[in-house]
């Protein structure tokens, strides 16, 4: 058996940000659902501890990745954000191709991954805003009841969306055989070259210069080369 050839995909900063965020998100999801669902909440002995954990995890969800970014390789994170932000014709085609079964040629991230990342960023901010309204009402002074009620409703509804988005992410990145190589990338920093060639061909080309020739007409703008 030969060892598969590996190519670097995520550096230490990217992985640290991902896993720090993931741990905070899971604590938030677990404590949030336990406080929210009567089937769990009525049997959990201390609501106070749940809430303190929830608030602490929210604090670290925003501060820890920021700190890691400041201390780590900011440029690679900025490049990732740029990739998620910028969509080209291929990304639009990817969504179409996924439905119709055409072969696709994603770059560093495909359009589904980009959508997920943008959803994660957007939901973090909406969770923060609505959560601050709820926390102010609880801990400092009472706001108008309609405002708290609406903020709480949005916070709750978004939790369901985030839960299903997270389940989809875990399935595709860690369970589904054709794509679960992603997890190795996020754990070790490396992925199999043959997998990258299939799933992220234009990214592979941009970092190694050894992508499929037919794709070379596309500019290699999907990421900075990884050190």
């Amino acid at each position: 058996m030969t060892t598969p050839e590996l190519v670097p995909r995520f550096n230490r900063t990217e992985r640290a940000v991902h896993w720090t965020y993931a741990v905070c998100f899971l604590v938030l999801l677990g404590t949030g659902l336990t406080m929210y669902l009567p089937v769990l909440s009525q049997f959990f002995p201390s609501r106070f501890i749940l809430r303190q954990l929830h608030l602490a995890a929210a604090f670290f969800l925003f501060t820890a990745p920021t700190l890691i970014a400041l201390l780590g390789d900011r440029r690679s994170l900025a490049a990732d954000v740029k990739v998620v932000d910028e969509w080209d014709e291929d990304d639009r085609a990817w969504l179409n191709d996924t439905v119709n079964g055409f072969p696709t040629t994603p770059g560093r991230f495909n359009a589904g991954q980009k959508l997920n990342a943008a959803f994660v960023a957007g939901s973090a901010l909406v969770f923060l805003g609505t959560g601050i309204v709820m926390a102010i009402n609880i801990y400092t002074r009472f706001l108008p009841a309609w405002l708290v009620s609406n903020a709480s409703l949005i916070h709750d509804l978004l939790t369901w969306l985030a839960l299903f988005a997270w389940l989809g992410h875990v399935f595709l990145a860690g369970v589904y055989p054709p794509t679960r190589e992603s997890l190795r990338g996020m754990l070790t920093g490396f992925v199999r070259r043959d997998w990258a060639l299939k799933h992220h061909p234009r990214w592979l080309e941009s970092v190694t210069g050894l992508g499929p020739p037919i794709l070379s007409k596309e500019p290699a703008r999907y990421n900075q080369p990884v050190e």
Partner: protein, 220 residues
């Protein structure tokens, strides 16, 4: 077949901005968007006896109730301390009222009918001393307490409720009795009340020790 390469579009930030926009709109309109209202009740229907929209909060589990041994002790700074059995409580003048239950965390349950004993009737029986200003309500879970002033408790809609919507309170709703003080958030509406102690000051309750405001009046 694509022959041109159109400029990049900033879809990622549009998704983020769009979510912020929808979130802000939701905070402004929220529950007035009727199509969303069924979703709000989604959680409470899961695995609880109350599908009315209550979330069930406890700080030390749900205490058991035995009508044969249960007592409500009313003591402290009163002229006539008393101890009521469940039957004694049911023999006091009974009353009924409609109400909405609001939680400080943002959910609420409308159209509730509470039945029980007015606090004014209890005050009349025990005669608080002139120096008494507040009462502390103890929950039989052994941890939860909260206070209200005698003035607040003297309003006609403040009651020790033993029934909700025509049936005895479910265990998770405070069986056998909970305080109902409709103008205040739920954390003042102590569940599983088994003691009322009159004091000459507001003794901070469970959540107040942990940062909640002592006055829990709901702002409209």
């Amino acid at each position: 077949m694509q022959t041109t390469s159109p400029p990049l579009s900033r879809v990622g930030r549009r998704v983020v901005m769009g979510m912020l926009g929808v979130g802000a709109l939701g905070i402004l309109l929220g529950k007035s968007l009727n199509p969303l209202s069924w979703l709000d009740g989604l959680a409470s229907g899961v695995g609880t006896s109350s599908s009315l929209g209550f979330r069930i909060y406890t700080v030390n589990g749900i205490p058991a109730f035995d009508p044969a041994t249960w007592k409500l002790q009313v003591d402290g700074m009163v002229a006539n301390p008393m101890e009521l059995s469940y039957d004694d409580l049911m023999k006091l003048p009974q009353t009924q009222q409609q109400g909405v239950f609001h939680c400080v965390t943002g959910w609420s349950v409308p159209n509730l009918t509470w039945a029980g004993v007015r606090m004014t009737d209890i005050l009349q029986q025990v005669s608080p001393l002139p120096s008494a200003t507040h009462m502390t309500l103890y929950s039989s879970d052994g941890q939860y307490t909260d206070n209200v002033s005698i003035g607040q408790a003297s309003k006609p809609d403040v009651m020790l409720a033993h029934s909700m919507n025509g049936a005895p309170l479910p265990l998770e709703q405070g069986k056998p009795v909970r305080l109902i003080i409709p103008e205040m958030y739920g954390y003042k509406n102590v569940k599983w009340v088994n003691r009322i102690e009159f004091t000459n000051q507001a003794v901070a309750g469970y959540w107040e020790v942990r940062g909640y405001p002592v006055d829990a009046y709901i702002r409209p």
